[in-house]
């Protein structure tokens, strides 16, 4: 579990995160959602240590990551895998070499073992055939999948994904979402996704943190969203008429289910 305790972050006079606390749960797909400029990327960068918080703590399984020495931080970072918005693949390396890079840097074992592990990961993301290609020769969706393969090659405990669906068509986007969700459940890892893709929110959001102007505005699951009365959240999630109608249909569907009816009556 990753816990944020009253983290504050600003640049000069501008405060980006006034004070945020949240918990990212193990075995779940945790989403950070919000409009552009709401502070979700800064929040994720603070979590992984790419930015230093001004105050507050980031705890990994209770260990204070923010107050750690660089040497100890490196130990935790080796348990982190991250998928970047632009995939961040190394241009000069093939797909196979990209995925093998963390193994070469930190892994032990023979070259044959490493290659076997790389192929396992590439097979997991259905890219075994693209192993010899360079990043410039593959599509955006494939790059994202290579990024996922590289992120999971060292069996991380924590997986961070920064806008994994940006620039992808809906079908590829769903494929990436499913892949991340499956990996999270299969390896029981803590996954944190920074997104404003509504499909991801509704399909994968086991636990959602909605950020509004740097503050945590709302927290819950994708099912809770349907019946949420938070205006700001509703304006953000169901921005179009089409989505509002879809929400009403989903509300009616869910209202048919007894456990939800009971829950709503209780609320």
């Amino acid at each position: 579990m990753i816990e944020l305790v009253n983290i504050k972050k600003g640049f000069g006079d501008k405060v980006i995160l006034p004070e945020v606390s949240a918990k990212m749960e193990t075995g779940k797909v945790n989403l950070i959602i919000g409009a552009s400029g709401s502070g979700k990327t800064v929040m994720m960068k603070c979590m992984v240590g790419l930015m230093e918080v001004d105050s507050g703590k980031v705890l990994y399984e209770g260990k204070d990551f923010t107050g750690m020495e660089e040497k100890d931080r490196k130990e935790i970072r080796r348990e982190i895998g991250m998928l970047f918005q632009g995939s961040a693949l190394f241009d000069s390396m093939t797909v196979e070499q990209n995925v093998m890079f963390p193994l070469n840097m930190f892994g032990s074992g023979s070259l044959r073992d490493k290659k076997k592990r790389v192929m396992e990961c590439l097979e997991r993301v259905q890219l075994k055939d693209a192993a010899r290609k360079f990043p410039a020769e593959i599509s955006g969706g494939m790059k994202k999948r290579v990024g996922i393969a590289r992120a999971i090659v060292l069996n991380p405990k924590y997986l961070f994904c920064d806008e994994p669906n940006s620039g992808l068509d809906p079908q590829t986007s769903l494929l990436i979402d499913k892949l991340i969700k499956d990996i999270t459940k299969e390896f029981n890892i803590t996954t944190v996704i920074n997104t404003h893709d509504m499909n991801t929110v509704m399909e994968s959001g086991d636990h959602i943190v909605y950020m509004y102007q740097g503050r945590k505005q709302w927290e819950g699951s994708n099912k809770d969203i349907i019946f949420s009365k938070d205006e700001k959240l509703n304006d953000f999630i169901f921005a179009s008429d089409f989505l509002r109608e879809a929400k009403e249909i989903r509300q009616m569907e869910m209202f048919q289910q007894k456990d939800w009816r009971d829950k709503l009556k209780k609320d």
Binding site: L50, K74, R77, F84, Q85, D91, N104
Partner: protein, 233 residues
Amino acid sequence: MLKGMFSRPENMKMYWKEFMLQCVDIGIGSLGIVLIISIFMGGVTTLQISYQLVSPIIPKATIAQVVRDTIILEFAPTLTCIVLAGVVGSKIASELGNMRVSEQIDALEIMGINTKGYLIGPKILASLIMIPCLIAIAGFLGIWGGLEAGSLANILSPEEFMQGLRQEFKAYNIFFALFKSFVFAFIISTVPSYYGYNVQGGALEIGKASTTAVVVTCVLILFMDYLLAAILL
């Protein structure tokens, strides 16, 4: 930036591999342009000195002596390094800048790799080894270019040129040239690394960083050239 480079390498083999890659990139990659520049530099120097030394009381071998000292003391280290500032410096700045903008450096950081040590360290070390070698080659080729140009233009024969080369030779000049080349190599690798590593923005900023890096490197080389000459000669 330099302080952050010094930490225990995560995997020595990978650092060595990166170092060798940089040696090939900086050394072999710049060899062609160094060859061309140094040969022509020597040739032109011979022609211009012969044009100026027209007195009948000055022996022709003196032309070779002046060519030798000019090339060893100034042209081989300084002119070659100014060119290398453009070739190597812009490559380093744009490579690191592109890695920064496309989040490749962040990806390495997340993996727990000391990015300064892994990306900049091998570049500096490779420059410190390869650039003095390039300058030594430039010196030899410059003098050879001078000999050939003198012979082709019927200014002085190869024998006269060889005689001039041996006249009043000071080994200290070689030391001075090599010392300068180490200083320039350090500037050529560190200044562009700094500008490239700290790029913020996009493609436009990479271009700006690359240009600034080359300009600052060239100015620093010229400034250090003057300072070293004032101190060491």
